[in-house]
Amino acid sequence: MARRGPGALFNVPASTNPGVSVRISMTVNGAVQDHDVEPRTLLVQYLREACALTGTKIGCDTSSCGACTVLVDDESVKSCTMFAAQADGRSVTTIEGLAPEGALHPVQQAFQDNHGLQCGFCTAGMVMAAVSLLDEIPNPTEREVREGLEGNLCRCTGYHNIVKAVLAAAGSAR
């Protein structure tokens, strides 16, 4: 019997197929977005390029850093490791959609109040991951915050103020 093995995984000849475009439609930050995309379009590319929402960052492009974290149906995902077509029909929230123009979401406010960012590159992803975490665990312990953010890397802050900010945001929502 033919087996699913490294042969099947690695030796398939590169496709000559351009990939038929697909029409996808999703709600992004409350507004409907319709676009024709190549199936290989990643969600992060779709958000940044088709929707012109550049708040979501690409850090590592290898599913490691979490800078690209957005919410799909209110759950955090790494948008560099999801095809836009997989989000078809779903509701996506990016950092731009957390609070009305000019206002800050409680988690954003807590990052500002607690100095939870320095260069800011990780911040959009960090905030989105924290929003999802607080949705699942409204009153986390410090340990739960640290473990809940394990998919997000920050090269500046040393994490302590990020953890403080998330705990403060949980407190302010109480």
């Binding site: 033919a2 590169a14 490691s64 790494k78 394990e150």
Partner: protein, 273 residues
């Protein structure tokens, strides 16, 4: 990094997915959560020309009490395993192991079936399912067949599944809320295990190892020593017997063997408390 181009087809049901797979043969691949496949495609180590998305086949996402055992749909996400009440009561080990997979973002998308079908010896859930003596249900054009965990993992990224088969269900015995331990050793929080050891006590004690060879492995010499009455500290000395772990950036084979013995001892001690 952009994957090579492909056609995207979303399957509405298991049977539809199987029909599309058989039509395209080796050029097609199933996409579940994408947490293993998409990174490989971005590196162009995998270049399927058709991707069959089964991510929305909702009737393959469940954890059910099936009398003397539990039935878990292949599309059940790690997140749903780690929070399942049925598993908390009847198979605590799977909940605990699923909670150790990657990070929240990965667990929101990755599925237990994808983890099993990928056949990576460094993955957490396959070793736990081996220790549980799970049964895997595969569906193809010819119908359904059951595959024992002991026969399923055949080599590095190589399983008993045929290219046009869909893994639909995973069946595990009821082992209760306690009596297990998973010791995962890694250097960074979200990483795969450098080595892992899972112990499950349900009458007899079974032990399986993560990343100690080309497949997840049962530590049969440890189990035999325990059955003969050896204490955990003595039994765990056999954890690396017969294994040939790889050398990589993280560890030499000798270090992996050492880790296997230490982690197995810790797992046995914790499972007994």
């Amino acid at each position: 990094m952009i994957p090579a181009a492909f056609d995207y087809v979303r399957a509405g049901s298991a049977d539809e997915a199987i029909a599309i797979l058989s039509e395209h043969g080796d050029d097609a691949k199933l996409l579940a959560g994408g947490m293993s496949l998409i990174p490989l495609m971005k590196l162009r180590l995998s270049t399927p020309s058709v991707l069959v998305d089964v991510g929305r086949v909702a009737d393959l996402s469940y954890v059910r009490d099936a009398g003397d055992r539990l039935a878990i749909g292949a599309l059940t996400r790690h997140r749903d395993i780690e929070t399942s009440d049925v598993l908390a009561e009847h198979c605590g080990v799977l909940r605990a192991v699923a909670a150790q997979v990657g990070d929240n973002q990965v667990r929101h998308r990755g599925t237990i079936g994808g983890s099993v079908a990928h056949g990576d010896p460094a993955s957490d859930l396959p070793a736990a399912l081996l220790a549980l003596d799970a049964t895997f249900v595969a569906r193809g054009r010819a119908g359904e067949r059951e595959i024992a965990a002991a026969d399923f993992f055949q080599g590095f990224l190589e399983t008993a599944l045929a290219p046009d088969e869909l893994l639909t269900e995973i069946r595990v015995p009821k082992t209760g809320p306690r009596g297990f331990s998973y010791q995962k050793f890694n250097r960074r929080a979200q990483d795969w295990a450098i080595v892992g050891a899972v112990a499950v006590t349900n009458g007899a004690t079974r032990v399986a190892l993560v990343n100690m060879g080309t497949t997840p492995l049962r530590a049969l010499a440890v189990e035999a020593a325990l059955a003969a009455g050896a204490a955990p500290a003595d039994a765990s000395a056999h954890a690396a017997d017969g294994t040939e772990p790889a050398a990589d950036l993280n560890a030499s084979p000798e270090y992996r063997c050492h880790l296997a013995r230490v982690l197995t001892r810790r797992a046995l001690e914790e499972a007994a408390t």
